[in-house]
Amino acid sequence: MGHAPVRFGVVVFPGSNCDADAYHAVSTFPGAGAQYLWHKDTDLKDVQAVILPGGFSYGDYLRCGAIARFSPIMQSVIDFAHEGGLVMGICNGFQTLVEAGLLPGALIRNTGLKFVCRYVNLRVETTRTPFTSACETGEVLRIVVKHNEGNYTVDPETLARLQAADQIVLRYVDAAGERAEGANPNGALDDVAGVCNETRNVFGMMPHPENSVEAGLAGGADGRPLFQSIIDTVLRTAEVTS
């Protein structure tokens, strides 16, 4: 490859349970490697992208992500994000990012009131992010969701702003790529499955791309382009700055 591997950091909170999966997913890319970032530490170990993994940080007690957001490591992640660092929150990581105010909105209880583990179809709404640059607009990714609180909500003004600024990155659709009744597993407003911040370097999504990186497994490989996008972006940035 000629490049030093892209360095991912995977944050570990007590109760994180997709941390090892995110770590493993990154390691299936020859050009990337991961290390864990412990919640009580503040050192980001010079990583180039941070993943806040899925799971039940602090048991999801009080509100999902509400306690994790105060971890020492989160202050460093917030600073990193403000300096333009790439931060991706998956499921509980997404919840933590909204609690930390790095992403707009909130994630409330699924309308079905039950934990839902199911394949969903995600339409890539924009490739103008470091997390989807390797995708095609309108491409449909088949990835598993698994959560209790994935129902995205936000006030109408903010929603309008998100739409106008192309910040809605992924939407739930049917297999043909159309928004449809029954395609949205949790009641999320505007079928939002993933959003980014205004500066586009912080991204949260409810589905689990880290469980979709190997074709031989039940999860399939549709999550790969998302990780590939991050790797491409980091390498491009490195080229520009070097």
Binding site: Y58, G59, Y61, L62, I67, F70, S71, P72
Partner: protein, 83 residues
Amino acid sequence: MNVRVYVTPKKGILDPQGAAVERSLPNLGFSGVSGVQIGKIIDLTITADDLTAEAAHAQVDEMCRRLLANPIIEDYTFTISEG
């Protein structure tokens, strides 16, 4: 009638949520906090023209027992006010 129901963990029954919050508070800079317990509050309105106070009380009590609280592990109380 406006009803507010308070549902709290029964005494002696583990409240993992309260315990986890209590444990994390010092890390957040809040010290000296103890005895954290987390319960539910349920607000609702009953519209029925000719419901006596006792009948309303009985109805809410039944609602709590059958649906709003889990009497095996939770206690409940409620208030009813005209509105």
